[in-house]
């Protein structure tokens, strides 16, 4: 085949371009530490990487939700613990001062104490978390309990639950219905506020004998009321457990997803550097050959 300078030249240009392009591509991988710098580097891989990214972002969010749920439960627990203690104190007062031989003055001062306990229990029931009432169901802007008249408590909230998204289409509910905890007489439980009111009434009853009977009548209900609160507290335990278990699952899942993503996306730097060296060698030998071949011609040798 007849070979002219133009053939040699254009072939060399093409080879050099190819080598330079490969070098550029490998350089980019090393600089960005990524194997996939454009979708066309690995289209299917790119699609998968995007899927993993969405996954990770969602996982982070679920864990954030769970975290808030746990904090809320802890707050619930602390609040109800206090409330339970207050009701217990009231019960003890009832037990201690149920005798009919107390003086009016003594009974007045105990009544005063119990009134204080009543307000404190109501205060606990009306706790706020993050600006929202926690025992008002969905009516989080309305205090769940209020005095109607003297020590007649009314519930102003509803029975809504706090719903937490913990996973794809999976929710965990936290009970937020204050009635459930403090005024559950309708379901065979105890209306704590009413019992406290009864205690106050008994202590303030001018007739000591009738008053004493009233007081005695509140001792067991108050005990049941305290148990009711603790019962609600313990119902939160499985919820907390579920939140923690899901959190742990997500925490374990994350590195696996990250690893899968890294396998697809990350450049193997060692491999890339070795390849870079190979390409450099190829490039240099090509241009060295070019230098030797395209220069000489017959004219150099004619006299």
């Amino acid at each position: 085949m007849r070979v002219t300078q133009n053939i040699t030249n254009s072939n060399f240009i093409r080879y050099i371009n190819q080598h330079a392009e490969n070098l550029l591509k490998t350089q980019r991988q090393i600089a960005s530490q990524k194997r996939i710098n454009k979708s066309s580097d690995d289209p299917i891989g790119m699609g998968q990487v995007l899927g993993y990214r969405t996954n990770l972002a969602a996982t982070d969010q679920y864990q954030e939700n769970i975290e808030q749920g746990k904090t809320r439960l802890e707050f619930n627990e602390a609040t109800l613990e206090l409330a339970s203690d207050l009701v217990n104190t009231a019960r003890r007062l009832a037990a201690d001062y149920s005798g009919s031989t107390l003086s009016v003055g003594e009974r007045q001062s105990v009544a005063f104490q119990v009134k204080g306990l009543y307000d404190q229990v109501m205060q606990m029931a009306n706790s706020k978390f993050n600006g929202n009432y926690i025992f008002s169901g969905h009516a989080t802007d309305t205090a769940p309990f209020s005095h109607v008249g003297d020590f007649n408590a009314a519930y102003n909230g509803d029975d809504g639950k706090l719903r937490i998204m913990v996973s794809d289409n999976v929710e965990v509910n936290i009970v937020a219905d204050g009635r459930n905890i403090f005024q559950n007489a309708a379901n065979g439980g105890v209306n704590i506020f009413d019992e406290l009111k009864n205690l106050i009434d008994g202590l303030e009853n001018p007739d000591p004998v009738a008053g004493s009977a009233q007081i005695k009548a509140t001792i067991n209900p108050l005990q049941d009321g305290r148990d009711q609160i603790n019962s609600r507290r313990s119902e939160n335990a499985p919820v907390l457990y579920r939140l923690q278990a899901t959190d742990e699952y997500l925490t374990n899942l994350r590195p696996k997803v990250e690893e899968a993503m890294a396998k697809l996306e990350q450049a193997d730097i060692t491999k890339a550097v070795v390849e870079l060296q190979n390409l450099e060698l190829a490039y240099e030998t090509t241009i060295a050959t070019a230098g030797r071949i395209i220069q000489p011609s017959l004219l150099d040798f004619l006299r």
């Binding site: 002219t4 066309s40 299917i44 995007l50 899927g51 509803d158």
Partner: protein, 462 residues
């Protein structure tokens, strides 16, 4: 005859012939880097012999034609392969620009913006009456709609740039046709006198190649040496010494159509009849690939808007209102907007399932769950899966166009090398020829000197 003047005549004819040979060699050397040049050769033959007393005796050399070393079929092949090369080059370049728009490798594309949008809804479920959460949700939603429009507009910009390229190519085609006509005229003129118009033919072949890169053409040479070029489904571009023009006109979608203008000024749209060349690559990228991507973006935006709005309207805002759309505007990627009423009053965001329930996050949960719902592709894919496959597809298209382009440019190189090996100038070869003709010239000069000396000897005898 065998006279001294006869000798002189042989010598002078030889001188002139060898000199022409050097001329042709010189022309070849000068044109070694001229694109499209085919090396020329001087055809020499021995002159008509003369009958003498001793039988036929030769009467020297005569230079015949200067002929072009050229294989016609190679020219046709080169043009064909160049047509495909132009097509894939233009297609690949346009697709690479589309790929850049969907560049998610840095991380701030539609994939991330959509994730943040859904996460903002989830944050709202944790505190449905919270003004911080609501404000953030509005901000993330506005980023989402802005990203949609930006991607859409960027794609449209590529389409407009392609329109520019098409207009430029059409102008170039017209210029090349004019060139062609000019060359046709010159060739016809020269060859009607019986000579070969080698250089003009080379230039005309080059024009044909440049035309092939832009648009697929059919060409054939007629009897008097002129070339007819036709495009599309047979519309003539160049007919001997007459040329027709191509033009562009704006079509219903606002883009340029390629038209052919006949002798009465009527235009014929030839988009569908162009099958190769850069014009085809550009038209395909603009009307098929990019349109496809635009439609998919629209579908994504539309479905998102519909799904979110239909849930949002059934919920209740903090102010008790219901039936509000979350997104307004036309249901398209460019038109989707966050409802201005909501942007001005975040209480309208309906997180609740019931009225006057600030702690109710039911509707917000329902909307947040849309992230994983199968809402696209006939209920088989999520929003993000749909988008992710768009990104994949863009990459696949580039991969494919690149591999066609690489393959094709290898083909073109090979065919051109083959042509070059037949018609190309080799400096070494021409150097040898130079010496060849120079020696012959010197020998012929010596012949004349010898004849001259013989004449002098004869004259001295008188």
């Amino acid at each position: 005859m065998t006279t001294i003047p006869g000798l002189l005549s042989i010598g002078s004819k030889a001188l002139m012939a060898q000199q022409k040979g050097i001329n042709v060699t010189g022309n070849n050397i000068a044109n070694v880097n001229t694109p499209g040049y085919s090396r020329q050769r001087l055809n020499m033959s021995s002159d008509v012999p003369i009958m003498t007393g001793n039988g036929l005796m030769g009467s020297g050399v005569t230079a015949n034609k200067v002929e072009r070393v050229y294989q016609r079929f190679l020219g046709v092949q080169i043009n064909n392969e160049t047509q495909s090369l132009g097509q894939w080059e233009a297609h690949k370049d346009a697709l690479e620009r589309v790929e850049m728009i969907f560049d998610e490798s840095g991380g701030y594309g539609l994939n991330q913006v959509m994730s943040e949008f859904w996460n903002a809804w989830q944050d709202l479920t944790n505190n449905p009456s919270g003004s911080v959460e609501r404000t953030v949700l509005v901000a993330k939603s506005e980023m989402l709609t802005a990203t949609f429009s930006k991607n859409y507009e960027d794609l449209q910009k590529i389409q407009r740039d392609i329109d520019w390229n098409i207009e430029g190519a059409v102008a170039e085609i017209n210029r090349l046709s004019e060139n062609m006509v000019d060359l046709n005229q010159k060739i016809i003129q020269v060859e009607s006198g019986g000579h070969m118009a080698n250089d003009y033919r080379d230039q005309r072949d080059l024009v044909l190649k440049e035309l092939s890169e832009l648009i697929d053409i059919d060409s054939f040479e007629d009897a008097n040496g002129g070339v007819t070029v036709s495009v599309g489904s047979g519309q003539a571009l160049v007919e001997g010494t007459h040329t027709y023009k191509l033009s562009t006109q704006v079509n219903a979608s606002g883009h340029q159509d390629v038209t052919w203008v006949d002798s009465s000024g009527n235009t014929l749209i030839i988009n569908n009849n162009i099958s190769k060349g850069k014009l085809k690559g550009w038209l395909d990228a603009r009307d098929v690939d990019i349109e496809n991507s635009l439609n998919k973006l629209d579908t994504l935006a539309q479905n998102l808007m519909t799904e979110v709005n239909s849930l949002h309207a059934t919920g209740y805002g903090l102010d008790g209102s219901t039936g509000n759309d979350f997104f307004t505007g036309t249901a398209s990627a460019a038109g989707i907007q966050v409802n201005a009423l909501i942007a001005n009053d975040i209480n309208l965001i309906s997180a609740a399932d019931g009225i006057d329930k600030p702690g109710d996050n039911g509707n917000a949960i329902a909307i947040a769950n849309l992230q994983e719902a199968l809402t696209m592709n006939g209920n088989t894919a999520t929003f993000s899966a749909y988008y992710d496959s768009m990104v994949s597809d863009a990459g696949l298209a580039v991969q494919q166009a690149t591999s066609y382009y690489d393959h094709q440019s290898q083909m073109v190189l090979q065919v051109e090398n083959y042509r070059e090996s037949i018609s190309g100038v080799s400096i070494d070869e021409e150097a040898v020829n130079l010496i060849k003709y120079q020696n012959a010239y010197q020998a012929a000069a010596k012949l004349i000197t010898t004849a001259d000396e013989m004449m002098e000897t004869v004259l001295a005898m008188i």
